[in-house]
């Protein structure tokens, strides 16, 4: 069930350039299930900035009623969020949307992420591993300074890093890595910029894949029709990223 809760900030720290890791605590965590779901965060009590910010759930700690977000502080909303300190409260609406269907993976999965699309893959990797699925992580970042969670992913499986400027790992995009790797997986999961999602889909036309999309949002719950995408399933309808997605099977979204 979707809840709105003032959650307590447990910890916040910078973990890469402009990238923050924020852990909050509260009953809302009970409702979280699928990796790839997101929350809609109100960064200030005032109406300026007005809109909530959609942020993926990066990891869930049910035992302690906590979950973690990883986000880039760039615009004014996320910058305000980055100022929150342990003990502060933030207004969280969630969990929202449909995440990655972990039950679809059989033996081995590729998790392909780019930039701030990487965070939801972490909870996904955890859940897949706990189901005995082998996970291979192919993660793209701008540069060495922008990389986060390399160790955490390595602890869960093979991890390949690409940086656009070549300052760490393979130079270029995740697709450069994909070209080198054997296609010995049954399912892939991907989250990142739309161009990356497109490239990934083209790379594996025969594979089962799930992609997480981004769109500008209003309500975050399916009521305002802000976050729509055209779909191959219907000429006369859109799908909504917030409530039908953000994760869709490969081939469904026209971006």
């Amino acid at each position: 069930m979707i809840k709105q809760e003032r959650m307590k900030v447990v910890a916040q720290q910078p973990i890469a350039r402009h990238i923050f890791e924020l852990t909050v605590e509260g009953g809302l965590v009970d409702e979280m299930a699928e990796p790839g779901q997101f929350v809609h965060v109100r960064v200030a009590d005032s109406f300026e900035p007005l809109l909530r910010r959609p942020i993926s759930v990066a990891s869930i700690d049910k035992e302690n009623n906590r979950f973690t977000m990883i986000y880039r502080a760039e615009g004014r909303g996320t910058q305000i969020l980055a100022d929150k300190k342990a003990g502060d409260e933030i207004d969280v609406l969630g969990p929202l949307g449909h995440g990655f269907p972990v039950e679809q993976a059989e033996k081995k999965a590729f998790l392909i992420g780019g930039g701030i699309g990487v965070p939801p893959l972490y909870e996904l990797a955890k859940q897949l591993n706990s189901r005995g699925i082998e996970t291979v992580h192919i993660l793209g970042f701008e540069s060495k300074q922008a990389i986060f969670y390399e160790e955490q992913f390595k602890a869960l499986g093979d991890t390949h890093i690409a940086t656009v400027d070549g300052s760490h790992g393979t130079e270029g995009f995740v697709t450069h890595i994909l070209n080198e790797l054997p296609h010995d997986f049954d399912t892939y999961f991907s989250c990142g910029p739309t161009a990356m999602l497109e490239a990934v889909q083209w790379a594996y036309p025969q594979k089962r894949g799930y992609l997480s999309y981004e769109q500008r949002m209003g309500c975050g719950i399916g009521a305002c029709f802000a976050c729509v995408c055209r779909t191959t399933k219907s000429e006369t309808d859109y799908i909504k990223v917030c409530s039908d997605g953000p994760v869709f099977p490969a081939g469904v979204v026209i971006s």
Partner: protein, 304 residues
């Protein structure tokens, strides 16, 4: 006990608070969060004759204390709304105000005639003010004579009272209000969004794919309040006021300025519980202000 009820044509509201059209879909999503029967009414998303896909994305952009939207009246069309959305809403004890849009008079007439037959539709809201569609929409809302004739045509076919939704993007909103009054409107809803634009300073490109969008939220409240005040002063039609309402004191302001009921739009996105929360706070706030009923408060700014 403070009396929150309001009676306006077609509508016996248990309280004056309702979500504004386009900000609440057809209720399904918010029904996951609270019981919609708490609401005074629901203004559903604009309905057109045919299914409409609306505009390309991005469709929303944030601005200072406000947002722009250019959804473009996406909706499942009259058929879908009549046969699936409205029946679903019947489970709640809440009157529905159906928002009607179109590009020609015939469109409006067709939708109005049909949709007003739905048992839970207690009033129509004729959207002559949508800034986000190329044809129709706002043009009906900017010329008094056109607005009057459209009102007449819709009144003729509607089985329920007709409220006309006015655009703020006009030189003289009172002249439009008077025209729809002449045309036989039962009430007015106001305001729709102000036409605005945001650019990306990095590229110079409009952030919204449609280039311009409708500005809503707290930023526009002063304009909305001024217009409600003026129209309430110069016409006799009941008004459902809106524009930037986020809390109980905003509701007090709109009622004071002459609105009989108040719609909440954008604030639903920020706080999805805003409507029931305001409804919960209204009795105490009225009591603090020294009023026993809501009706006493309506239009008090004009009586000072």
């Amino acid at each position: 006990m403070i009396d929150l009820t309001v009676k306006i044509p077609g509508l016996e509201l248990k309280n004056p608070i309702m979500p504004a059209s386009g900000c609440f879909g057809f209720g399904k999503e918010y029904a996951q969060l609270y019981d919609l029967s708490q609401l005074g009414a629901i203004m559903i998303k604009a309905t057109t004759v045919e299914t409409r896909l609306g505009n390309p994305t991005p469709r929303v952009a944030e601005t200072s204390s406000g947002m722009l939207n250019a959804i473009g009246l996406q909706n499942p069309g009259l058929e879908g709304v009549y046969h699936s959305e409205l029946p679903w809403l019947e489970q709640f004890d809440v009157p529905i105000i159906a928002n009607v849009a179109g590009t020609t008079t015939e469109d409006y007439v067709d939708v109005a005639q049909e949709i007003s037959k739905a048992p839970n539709v207690h009033a129509l809201e004729i959207n002559i003010s949508c800034p986000n569609v190329k044809k129709g929409g706002i043009t009906f809302g900017t010329d008094p004579a056109v607005a009057r004739e459209l009102t007449r045509a819709v009144k003729e076919v509607s089985s329920v009272p007709v409220y006309i939704k006015l655009s703020p993007n006009v030189t003289d909103i009172v002249s439009i209000a008077k025209a729809v009054e002449e045309g036989g409107a039962d009430g007015i809803t106001m305001i729709n969004t102000l036409l605005g634009m945001r650019l990306d300073p990095k590229t110079g490109r409009p952030v919204i794919a449609n280039i311009t969008g409708g500005l809503s939220g707290p930023a526009i409240k002063p304009v909305a309040l001024r217009m409600v005040y003026e129209v309430s002063k110069q016409t006799n039609l009941p008004i459902i006021g809106m524009g930037g309402v986020t809390d109980v004191d905003d509701v007090i302001d709109f009622l004071s300025a002459g609105a009989s009921a108040v719609a909440v739009g954008t604030a639903n996105f920020v706080n999805p519980f805003v409507c029931p929360e305001i409804i919960g706070k209204l009795p105490e706030r009225l009591h603090e202000l020294g009023y026993d009923s809501l009706e006493e408060l309506i239009g008090r700014s004009h009586r000072l």
